[in-house]
Amino acid sequence: MSSAPTVPTMTGTATVALDVDRAFGFFTEFFGSWWPTDYHIGQTEMADAVLEPREGGRWYERGVDGTECDWGRVLVWEPPHRFVVTWQISGRWQYDDDPKHASEIEGPLQRRPSGGTLVELEHRHLDRLLDGEPFAPPSKKVAAVGAPSCKPSPALPRAPA
């Protein structure tokens, strides 16, 4: 018996016409341009989502009011073929800073012999997101819950303490 029953690893694929360099760049540096805005944790509408293109980079959303909510971190950055990021939004739909509670998403990209690029995503260690907490699926969208870990954008003036 291991430490917890494993929630099956999620896999998903996408096939795109872009070559592998562009497919990687589009997935990562233009993340906010294609991610469905329904899936976010901030209390205001999502304006953008950013995946910082480097190891140790942040992965976060920015709300229309400038609030930033972390989603995870970049663990591996090997353009144009591989990246690994953490997804640290817990079963309660809040950002959890503890790396032990982090699930991982690995995105290998391969050039297809017939042209274009195959993206094969793997989302693993989903059981870590539960970590002893009951899973409570949001009634509609992730956004319905809100996240206390969200902070005002550093670029915005702060109210005096």
Binding site: M1, G12, A14, F26, P36
Partner: protein, 90 residues
């Protein structure tokens, strides 16, 4: 093991190199997390996997990634068209 067959603490401990106390403690953690459920059966408790909880979590992420990858594919194909147009002589 519980995925194969719902079992009591004693039945699990018989098959494992750990004590019934350790099994019981472990099941308590899993139960608190909603990963296993227990029901009384006479004087013992039978534990089984809470497939609904695991299935719900899996289904939720399946939906997110289905939507997200479909959106990526669609947007990337639009971007690919734009690159092609850029390459065309004007």
């Amino acid at each position: 093991m519980l995925a194969r067959q719902p079992s009591s603490v004693g039945e699990l401990a018989d098959q494992l190199p750990i004590t019934p106390q350790a099994v019981s403690q472990h099941l308590g953690v899993l139960r608190a997390g909603g990963l296993v459920v227990a029901r009384p059966d006479g004087t013992r408790r039978v534990y089984r996997l809470n497939t609904q909880g695991v299935a719900a979590l899996k289904a939720y992420f399946e939906r997110i990634w289905d939507d997200a990858l479909a959106a990526y594919q669609k947007a990337a194909d639009v971007a690919a068209d734009n690159f092609d147009h850029e390459k065309e002589p004007t």
